[in-house]
Amino acid sequence: GGIITQTPKFLIGQEGQKLTLKCQQNFNHDTMYWYRQDSGKGLRLIYYSITENDLQKGDLSEGYDASREKKSSFSLTVTSAQKNEMAVFLCASSIRTGGVGDTQYFGPGTRLLVL
């Protein structure tokens, strides 16, 4: 088994601030994902990475940057936090990139509040 850790658990920022969220996995999975989940809503893909130093944009990438410097870690940066923004950012990993039988494993999330 393995685990995904996300730091911080809670993040309070100011409007216009650059904020960085971090994710680590010890599954030795190739692929990692960043999703945003607004309260009571589904998951929207921000970025994913199929290997170290690879980055692929999801549908929600505008306003975000990502970095995959090591196989085990994937960072997400909110480039300019929006006032009253409130969401949970979920990191996930999978052994490969999609296909039959591939499973995404999720971290506990980072809860963001922008004042």
Binding site: K41, Q56, L90, G98, V100, T103, G107
Partner: protein, 110 residues
């Protein structure tokens, strides 16, 4: 267009009844359909999945029925329990990423 639609948006069922959650899609290239379950305050986790080669997948009280011709799936939960209360997401595998439905919030009343 790559979309996965789920219905109903929310559902309340009495304990012991059978719950039916619906999912539909449009893209014929989708070939794998996992269902994830998310308990309140927790992260999603894989519950059960089906591929194009099957019409039905069963795991305990959970069964997926798949109508490929109509591009529709349904998740049946028999003998529904209060502990099944959660949000259920249908997803479809598409070219390196999952396309997620918006989820069905299920409440099981004792």
């Amino acid at each position: 267009q790559q979309q996965v639609r789920q219905s109903p948006q929310s559902l309340t069922v009495w304990e012991g009844e059978t719950t039916i959650l619906n999912c539909s899609y449009e893209d014929s290239t989708f070939d794998y359909f996992p269902w994830y379950r998310q308990f309140p305050g927790k992260s999603p986790a894989l519950l059960i999945a089906i591929s194009l080669v099957s019409n039905k997948k069963e795991d305990g009280r959970f069964t997926i029925f798949f109508n490929k011709r109509e591009k529709k799936l349904s998740l049946h939960i028999t003998d529904s329990q209060p502990g099944d209360s959660a949000t259920y997401f249908c997803a479809a595998d598409s070219n390196y990423q999952l396309i997620w439905g918006s989820g069905t919030k299920l409440i099981i009343k004792p």
